[in-house]
Symmetry: C2
Subunit: 267 residues, 2 copies
């Protein structure tokens, strides 16, 4: 196993850590590289959001120490996760996979994990993944950039927009960029109000994709005005992406749920 794991570390005594993007959720949106690496580790440390089907790809013969470490990381703080990666990576010839939703370097806290691994002088490699915005857009057939309409693409998080100030990406929304807000459910009404106050066209198209590529997927569409209503409905618990911008109107949203419930439209 050791030689298959670490072709570039022939004489290394300590372990090797892969920071692997698991993709948006569907197991077949993993890359071939990630799949290959998942067949080899001794330890997998993964987030709660990584579907079991992806974790299960980690070998027909699960690594001995997988269960304990894998489960341990789910609800731990980032500092604790960093400590797990360093501890496991220091075992002689260990292969450690840190499996993260989407892409490790996009809202994945991989920057902090890389810093911890470097501080411990551990070797690692980052394996990119399909970040969920791309998969959500693919399912809803929404062009994220569109010639003449959206020449720039912005990824932001709900956390940025939690305050009472206009999010710093608002200027780009005005100039026609497509904005994707990750984890945006709790701030939806706040974002809608701030952008409307700042003068963004209330008819600006909005789509929300929950649980992209997973069972239970929902596509919801409407306008900036309607976005205020999102977040007050029942929470599916799945990750939600909010897409804002004129290019969103080019999506296949005919079958999408309306953002404003039908009873409100009739009132």
């Amino acid at each position: 196993l050791a030689t298959r794991l670490r072709p570039r570390l022939k004489t290394a005594r300590q372990g090797f850590v892969w920071l692997v993007g698991a993709g948006p959720g569907a197991a077949d949106l993993l890359t071939l590289r990630a799949q290959r690496i998942l067949h080899e580790p001794d330890v997998i440390v993964h987030d709660a959001l990584v579907p079991e089907a992806v974790v299960a790809m980690a070998a027909a013969t699960p690594p001995a120490s997988m269960s304990a470490s894998a489960r341990a990381a789910i609800r731990q703080s980032q500092d604790e996760i960093n400590a797990i990666l360093v501890r496991e990576g220091r075992r002689p010839e260990a292969g450690v996979v840190r499996l993260k939703c989407g892409d490790p370097l996009v809202f994945g806290r991989a920057g902090e994990e890389m810093a911890a691994l470097r501080a411990a002088a551990l070797s690692f490699e980052v394996v990119p993944g399909v970040t969920s915005a791309l998969a959500a857009a693919a399912e809803a057939e929404i062009p994220l950039t569109l010639r003449g309409t959206a020449s720039t693409l912005v990824f932001a998080t709900g956390q940025d927009a939690a305050g009472d100030v206009l999010p710093d990406w608002a200027g780009l929304a005005f100039s026609g960029a497509t904005v994707v807000v990750y984890m945006g459910r709790s701030v939806a009404s706040r974002v809608a109000a701030r952008l409307a106050e700042a003068g963004l066209n209330p008819a600006t198209p909005v789509a929300i994709i929950e649980s992209a590529t997973l069972p239970g997927r929902r596509v919801i569409s409407g306008s900036l005005t309607d976005l205020a209503a999102y977040g007050s409905g029942p929470d599916s618990g799945g990750p939600a992406l909010i897409l804002i911008g004129d290019a969103v109107a080019q999506g296949a949203l005919g079958a999408a749920e309306p953002l404003v419930p039908a009873r409100e439209l009739a009132a």
Copy 2:
């Protein structure tokens, strides 16, 4: 073949088109879904930038009509490519793969292709891919978002920055976003000048990744001041991504080439 190709179109007489992200270049950064679909088509229409190794994954027995159509699309206009997709997709029970670098919906003109397919009433599906910014950042170990430093990520193109005005994403560069400029080589000095004039810190870290994940890959690093020098050196011909932002400094750039040639540093 027909039933394997179109499980959801059992009675369809016309074809089906997949718009597939080929990923950044390395064949093993294709998704499992894309690989599966590549084994099935009758026709593949691909860009010149899609590596032969990825195209070659399209079955040990290449589709009869692959060569002609595949080559035909390489140097054609977007209107001509749209016409090829519609013409091929209208053949009874045809399976057509439109293979695009990176992700189809990010600077990939898939919006125009989807519009053409819808206008022709052809069924299609978009398969997301790893966009090259993610792979470039993974190779250079650059966190694209970083808590406390970069909370927003912007993808732009050199075309946006070709004029004499400040690019519309400049405001986000000031607020600490990581900006990735696709196809930025020809506008590098212009972008550097505009951002510096506008007051962005001249020491803002910059990295350039050419031919990410491919043989001939180059990683170049420096600061906003140095960026003006990029573009005047020899052109490798490979696609170049320019990453700008404070988070870039966290990358593993010790072995990167300097943006300013050594003789200039000594002068």
